[in-house]
Structure formats: C-alpha cells, structure tokens
C-alpha cells in the first residue's frame, strides 16, 4: 500500500528536503503534492485526497494552526492525520497543535530518522509496511 502526502511549507527548500527525506526513508509514497500555506493546502484538499498532511506553523496568509482549525471543522478532512513540523519549540504552541488535532510534532532542525519515526507512528504502519506489525527498529538510512 502506498500513500499520498501533502507537504505545506512556505519554504521551497524545506518542502524539497522533507520530500527527499521521506522518499529516502523507504516510506511507500504514491503522490506528493505541495502547498505554500494553509490556504493553498485547503485548495489542494478540495481537489485531491491525501493520506497524510505534513505542515509548518509559521506561514503567510494562513498558518499551520489556522489550517488545523479549518480541517477540524470538516467531517472528512479532520480524519486526515496531520503532522506539524516547525521551528516552534514552545510547550504551549506544541500543545495548541495537538489540541487542534495534530497527530505528531517534529521540531526543526530534524534528523531523517525523526520524520520517519513520526510518520510511521501516525499512519500506523511499520517499517515493513504491515499495519500494526513492527518487524524491527532499524531507523538508519542508506544515503
């Protein structure tokens, strides 16, 4: 089984590095769509279904917390697991993200292993791609 991802970040470099990190992790990614802010993310979601959203917080126009609020209002969209990835390190902002429905939080700067770990936890798939069956804890990458 492969998954469709939506990466939301106003930095083109950060979107590229997140995408590269995920594809190198061995995560079975089908399509990866990108958005530069929460507003664009909602436009993408109106046209295409994704299985996971990875979103920054600090973005112009609509930030990541506002995006979570909008997702929460929609009975379908609120079911999409959302991982927040941000430079924000304050305990309150992290809690705010979880309160608004985020399923995971990754702090920038991150190691590739951290993205992989949170992604697999959130989507409920092991390294081997089997639901609920973790066949090892080898988090290393072959760069």
């Amino acid at each position: 089984m492969s998954f469709n991802l939506l990466i939301v970040d106003d930095s083109r470099s950060m979107r590229a590095v997140i995408k590269k990190t995920i594809s190198m992790s061995g995560f079975k990614m089908d399509q990866c769509v990108e958005a530069r802010n929460g507003r664009e993310a909602l436009d993408v979601l109106a046209k295409a279904w994704v299985d996971v959203i990875i979103s920054d917080i600090n973005m112009p126009e609509m930030n990541g917390l506002e995006l979570l609020e909008e997702l929460k209002k929609d009975s379908l969209l609120k079911e999409i697991p959302t991982i927040v990835i941000s430079t924000e390190g304050s305990e309150k902002r992290i809690q705010d993200a979880y309160d608004l429905g985020a399923r995971g939080f990754i702090k920038k700067p991150f190691l590739p292993e951290e993205i992989k770990k949170v992604l697999y936890e959130v989507i409920g798939v092991s390294d081997e791609g089997e639901y609920g069956e973790d066949k090892g804890d080898d988090d290393t990458f072959d760069f």
Partner: protein, 146 residues
C-alpha cells in the same frame, strides 16, 4: 547587559551548531577573531518576553554548500533563489531553536525571514556577535536584544 549578552551567546552557540550539523551537515568552529567579508545575510526578528533580531551572515561558498548538502544540488543547478531560501530557513531554525532553549515555556512570535546583502556590522552593548569557520567557509551570527 553584559551578563545578558553572555547568556545569549551561551544559548545561541549550541543552536547554531545543531542547525548546521543536522540540516546542512556543516561542522562549525568558533572563530576568535572577527570576520567581516560576508556576501549575504538572512535576518529574522522575534517578539515575546524579550524581543530582538537574529542575523546570519554568509559567504557565497557557505551558502552554496548549504544548498548542496541540504538539497543535493550541485554546480549550475544551484540558483540564487536556492541560496536565499536555504539562508532564510537557516535563520528561522536558528532563531526558533535559540528561543526554545532560552525559555520553552514562553511563546515568541517570529517574523518572516528576510534576505539581502550584509548591512552594517554594528557592535554595541545590546549586540552579541559570533563568527564561525568551517571547511565550507565562514558564517557570522549577530543577535540584538531590545
């Protein structure tokens, strides 16, 4: 004020190391002497229980190395936009990391990062200035606390 600046320096230094090692695979060494020959700067301001701004000064070689290591691009594939984007992301991460080390119980608001040619490399009581060297070139970091 001098004690505050020393605390800022002690808190900022590991943040700079962490961001450059984790995201750009660049290992920095503190420089004892001041270096002023930088080609570009990325800056961000913050506001909360304390306010101020963080500026990162970069040589062109350093900015190219950051793009190369972060995005896997090489040679002509590296554009000015890539260097700007990576530099802005670097100052954003350094500032966020610094503030959460300073006090993770407090919320700080960060501006959008900006990018330009280096401005005045000012000094003063409210300025903390650090320079670092690496195999890829030098960086300077200036923190101003208001």
């Amino acid at each position: 004020m001098k004690e505050n600046m020393e605390k800022i320096r002690e808190t900022m230094t590991p943040s700079i190391f962490e961001v450059f090692e984790k995201m750009f695979y660049i290992f920095l060494e503190p420089l004892d002497i001041r270096y002023d020959e930088y080609d570009m700067e990325a800056a961000i301001s913050f506001d909360g229980t304390i306010s101020g701004d963080v500026r990162i000064l970069l040589s062109r070689n350093m900015a190219r190395a950051m793009v190369q290591n972060m995005l896997g691009l090489e040679g002509d594939g590296i554009t000015g936009q890539d260097m700007e984007d990576c530099s802005k992301e670097a100052v954003n991460m350094v500032c966020g990391n610094f503030l959460s080390r300073l006090d993770s119980t407090k919320v700080f608001n960060l501006s959008s990062p900006s990018f330009k040619e280096p401005g005045d490399l000012e000094s003063g009581e409210d300025i903390c200035r650090m320079d670092f060297d690496s195999d890829n070139g030098k960086i300077g970091v200036i923190v101003r606390s208001l």
